[in-house]
Point group: C2
Chain length 343, copies 2
DNA sequence: TTGTAAGCGTTATCAG
DNA sequence: CTGATAACGCTTACAA
């Protein structure tokens, strides 16, 4: 009976004069189907406004039409950008985005992820750094037979399972830029231990100095945690130094904004007294004054690509354009950098 | 057979020597169950690590274990805060959060929401402003029989379906504060037309002036759209005025940050030459220099409460503490406000 | 190329 | 209080 509630596959089958299975084949775009049969069924579907029940399909197919986003990230803007990118790729599909923040550090993290994946039977899942850097999440997905993509600051996995940026390279360039302007005492606010991105960015920083034959005292490197507060503390430590650094590279925008904050609080002027470069190119970088020179991290593109990788089986062969896996970051020149002014 | 794959309700039933239905009753915390039977079943569940299959439950129950978040919001930080609050409430439940951005303005918006709700059969859904202000989404949820909560800047619905803040009141207080410091030419950067929050905040602004018997030229009100860019344009318009306003209230932090940006770009000093008050108390307010006086909008608490309202049936009567519906905002005093200095 | 029968794992009905 | 049986709506064998 169709009169009651929403039409089901049975209604379609009956009205089209075919079997349920044939309707099912139409829904699932089975290739072995007579064109006229398909047309007939599609006509009925359109006419009565039939929409397949996702719960029933999920039960039979053993997977949901959901793409998961697993993260444990201190940066809100980054997570939002990732969501935006993924949703862009998923637009006009039947897939939905399910968000799952987790507690790295928790001893049950891996079990939590496993429970989440097993329970929801996701179609695919995307991991953000730093969780994505944990090799065990990849193992877990392979064991569970679930599609996954990891985002990272360096290549961690095969192209199918990875979207990466070249953090070390672009930071090296950024620091070289500082050097070319005449800066010699350059401070680094490093990211948290255990983050691959933090390591890569630091590596780029050190490579640039090494290539220029410059050896800096260890004191010019301060530890941060990618948060504003830790950035503030690190910047204060650096600015207390004597002689003071003439430029600071902060491993993300949040800490770069904190550096600007710390400098202005002391009555310093940026970029006259201090040049600052950040990393991420999140909104705050261009919103603060002076607008901040920073590395543009193409997160939205990476996230979109990641989602497309996850959906590649679904879209079928016709759309089998290989999604890129490496997304070059670029330095965005704004107003927080100038040649050093000795005073 | 349990050897293959994950244990099912049948395995539990067999091992416990009861029927499937009895196990089902245990899972669903049915009150009419013999204590010893329950204990026996629970023991088996724990022993073999049985986890109910959500897809099958969804099919039988006609609803998923998902809470939806529907929004069309220009402010990333706000959406993240909402997610954080909701997820906090959902922690340690079997519910997951599914995020659905929509395109207000699209002629198919309501149909899109309907399709989403019907397809996913959510357990409950939360609407953010400005979509939440549309009475038709509430009608839709009632028609579909789906739990919903709306967030807004004024009371739009019954307590069960609403979390609201008192924007007009707190803005009135904020502007009175400006007046008490001696400001007389106060500019307003208004929010977008059609947003209830924009209207409420403007109302508070106008009430404060009216109560003080001050009549301001229409030119001191500039239109914004809650984005940085529109805030910048509006601030420039205001700062081009002669005489210039000595203080500006911006209807959200993003536009307040833009106001600061515009002022500093002109070489003005804040708060000496211009006092600024924002609204939201998002991260940027405290991160920029000088730290910005703003209205703290308790979004995280509101979102947590909203999710709890959605889950109230699930938690059962024992936890039936009535969640609040009104969340007072408060003015946070920072460094962007000072008495006017005539120069 | 299409159809038939048997699940997928759970809950509702209604009897005991 | 508990259990047998029929849904829930779709897909996967396996035939035809």
């Amino acid at each position: 009976m169709q009169s009651q509630g929403k039409p089901t596959i049975n209604d379609v089958a009956r009205l089209a004069g075919v079997s349920k299975k044939t309707v099912s084949r139409v829904i699932n775009r089975s290739p072995l189907l007579n064109g006229s049969t398909r047309a007939k069924v599609e006509a009925v579907i359109a006419e009565i406004g039939y929409v397949p029940n996702v719960q029933a399909r999920a039960l039979a197919l053993r997977h949901n039409f959901l793409i998961g986003l697993v993260h444990d990230n201190p940066n809100a803007q980054m997570v939002m950008n990732v969501q935006a990118g993924m949703l862009e790729a998923m637009r006009d599909t039947e897939f939905e985005l399910i968000v799952r923040p987790i507690d790295r550090g928790s001893s049950t993290m891996l079990q939590d992820i496993r429970a989440f994946l097993e329970r929801q039977r996701l179609y695919g899942v995307m991991f953000l750094p730093p969780v994505s850097e944990n090799e065990m999440v990849a193992d877990l997905c392979r064991e569970l037979g679930i599609r996954y993509v990891r985002m990272g600051s360096a290549t961690l996995d095969s192209a199918k399972h990875m979207v990466a940026s070249n953090d070390a390279d672009v930071v090296r360039d950024a620091v070289k830029h500082l050097l070319s302007l005449g800066h010699r005492r350059i401070g680094l606010i490093a990211g948290p231990h255990g983050f691959r991105s933090a390591r890569e960015r630091r590596k780029g920083f050190e490579e640039a100095l090494a290539e220029a034959g410059i050896k800096l005292p260890r004191s010019l490197i301060a530890d941060g945690n990618y948060t504003f507060e830790t950035g503030l503390a690190a910047a204060d430590r650096l600015l207390d130094l004597s002689p003071r650094p003439t430029a600071i590279f902060a491993s993300n925008d949040e800490m770069a904004a904190a550096t600007l904050h710390a400098a202005m609080r002391r009555g310093m002027t940026v970029p006259e007294n201090l040049s600052i470069i950040g990393f991420d190119d999140t909104a705050i970088a261009s919103h603060i004054w002076p607008p901040m020179t920073t590395v543009h991290w193409p997160i939205i593109s990476m996230a979109r690509s990641a989602a497309l990788k996850l959906l590649t089986d679904f879209f079928g062969d016709d759309q089998a354009v290989e999604e890129p896996s490496l997304f070059p970051s670029t330095l965005i020149h704004r107003a927080s950098v100038a040649p050093p002014r000795e005073d």
